[in-house]
Symmetry: D3
Subunit: 181 residues, 6 copies
């Protein structure tokens, strides 16, 4: 099978490595919409690494360790999922891991331009990389980390959108903000 | 591995069937942009069926047999590619073939709404189906079957955009139209 | 109350007429997504007229009488709904009926430009007209008359998307097309 | 009339409450484009509450009291307009006020995705809520609070875009910034 | 000046030829929005050729001669405007005329993808070609030939949108359609 | 020739001033995509001023002097290019320079709404201004200053995207950030 692929295209790769995928993001926090994408990715690739971009410049609400803990809780019981983090360029991370497939959820037109820009830039740096866009379940079309944060910090209920740990941590942040204001 | 997937999600499927994908379309005609998507799909799935929708209502420029012949020529030498056709709903076709993965190329924002509408409708009819969106090489971003037809029928040069057979057949059509006008 | 409105804006209108709304469309056929918009409109305006644009140039699949019968069946039991038709410009129709409010469902970005173009053009012809855009339930976001027709004519199941009469008529059309091909 | 509505749909509400609407926003500052939307809303609903979201996280240029004063000045003489503010979730605010109708102006495609995301999320939290999208007059299509702030802070003229009080306050801010730089 | 340009870029061209521009389209019919673009183009380029694409496949409502006559009437008194037509590819037409600059009006997001696709394809066939996008006056943002045709054929008033001749011809077509239906 | 233009349109301007254009931006930093737009603009207008908006509110990564030095390096050898800066409104700057033509590159749908908003607002402040939208070469479609900054600050390679000086300065910034974190 390896022979098949390598003879037909200029992008040489063993079939095995194509069975691994990375799902990168800031995940601040990871939502049930992200979980839905992981479930879909697992149907296509046996090994899916959820890779948290550290991204301290964007000053995320959650620390790297909190974000990873939330992902672990939210994906509990899903075989084939690994949680990891990286600091730097995605292309460097995937090249070093020997992974070629990058998963991205795409929900709305407003995601589109940025996602394409990133995917093309990644491809220019690392030709073998392939970005696979998956569509979340309809119920998650309008769910984003930003919306969850905004609702929770205004005192709203986000159960059903994120895991219990994320919900609890968001409530703590909201209370702390109230106390300090 | 089959156990892994089936335990983690409600969508039961053997791992093997997830290695096949179908790439459906009218392909009137198949272009080098379509070929680029096939090459990318082959890196992810060992078996890719290019499935031509008969679609006589849309009165395609090329007959079903011509469209299939052009695809065969354009994908010559690519292992793992099968050319087929179907008449009716895509979901019925893929269900009967035991395929769960549908490939779609996505090039521009204007593709987006329609592609999502189709993907969601397909998912509603057949929950196991998963549409995988791939991005063609930058050079093919603006290439479409419609554009190729328009250029060729106005007497323009479409070499480098479609296979020699498609080019020759388009030239014949253009001459016939000129003669009859 | 009439005094209030008329004093505050240049658009003179009695409060009563603002309680009527027209929901125009080709409705070829009327779907459960359209019904959802009617339900929402009824919460805002006690009288909602579903007005079918005859539009013979677009050669609709259903006759005007069939389209009206389907709407009547689909809106059965909803108080305040009237079914009507018109031939010509919407602005002429609403002006003659003494209605100022036009309802439009808006589902996706691709609807947007056309809807705005129409709404602005209508406003230019008849300043008092106000187009009110409502958003259907999430489940109907991707439902359109065109999609229903395409699925049904390819032999697909459209129950749950349109009324039983529309379903039956679509099946007849599909069988007739098959027989004649 | 109340009977009519309540019998026909699952969303129970007295007809009276449907005659009130809330127009929420940050309004930093309220512009003549916002005023245009209020005028249109008043044609549909006798009572329109302009509700300022406090939103201290976004660090608005104007204080809550300034923003409310500007709205009062700009809507002077319009019967049926009330100016209010809220802190927290819109759904909590409207539920407590017994209001079901939310007004939003929609000007351009770039507004679209975010507006829909909010409207759907609000609907999920409070099923009876209905977001009504209105289109401003053509002349205001390209007017936004952000643009007004940018122009004024660079020393530009914003008369004809906002009320005299907003203009004066913006000039003060611009001078203060110049002095401190 | 010719020296300056030719030394700095790979696209050799005399400065003189860059002072001519072509404004291509189907113009079925030419509207006051198109006229607005011509006025703007004339400020940049002393010679502007309005070039009608014959396009018999699209079965335009107006004959080529009618479309050219309408353009002549609508641009009467504008110095520097020439009216011409072409059959075939735009790139062949402009190359033969020795023109490098193509004018296109761009009004809304929905125009965008198609315009870019065409501009890139033209550039691929003829590297020296440069498409210049101009924005019409706000009042014409929502004006298109299609909208004018639709309104006129339904009996609506299109004065102020197209020239008297176009108005008269559209009225004739509308009456003819009515008589034959 | 001046006579021709001034007689045909309400926007009076000498032909000479129409031969100058300004290309404004924050240019933080100027990229090879910006250079591509300058090259295209030079084909249309003999004198092109690249005008850097100071914009200290946006706290650019590069100082005004650095940004101007990078532009000078990147446009070295291009005749007809001047590098300048301005503080305040673009319309005030171009009016004082006696320039009527503003160049903007337009790459993707997401640019569109903002660019139109700015262009219309500028036109309202200064009727004679004309914004000319040019499309960069395909290879630069997805290149932006923000992307360059993000890649460089994460340690990625940006050669081929910006000039050597910009590359060196970005590397310095990245090292400084690493050291301080």
């Amino acid at each position: 099978m390896a022979k098949r692929n390598s003879s037909s295209t200029p992008r040489m790769s063993g079939a095995r490595s194509r069975r691994k995928a990375v799902y990168p993001g800031t995940f601040d926090p990871f939502t049930y919409g992200h979980r839905d994408i992981v479930l879909r990715a697992l149907q296509l690739f046996p090994d899916v690494t959820v890779a948290v971009l550290e991204n301290p410049q964007k000053s995320p609400v959650f620390s790297l360790e909190e974000r990873k803990a939330i992902i672990r809780e939210t994906t509990l019981g899903l075989n084939g999922v690994e949680v990891d983090s990286f600091d730097g360029l995605l292309v460097d991370y995937v090249r070093q891991k020997g992974i070629y497939v990058v998963i991205r959820g795409i929900r709305a037109v407003s995601d589109f331009d940025y996602e394409f820009q990133m995917a093309l830039m990644n491809r220019r740096h690392y030709e073998a990389i392939e970005t696979v866009f998956l569509m979340p379940a309809e119920a998650y079309t309008y769910l984003s980390s930003r919306l969850v944060r905004e609702i929770a910090l205004l005192g709203g209920d986000v159960s059903g959108l994120v895991s219990p740990m994320a919900e609890r941590l968001l409530k703590e942040r909201a209370n702390r903000m109230k106390a300090s204001s």
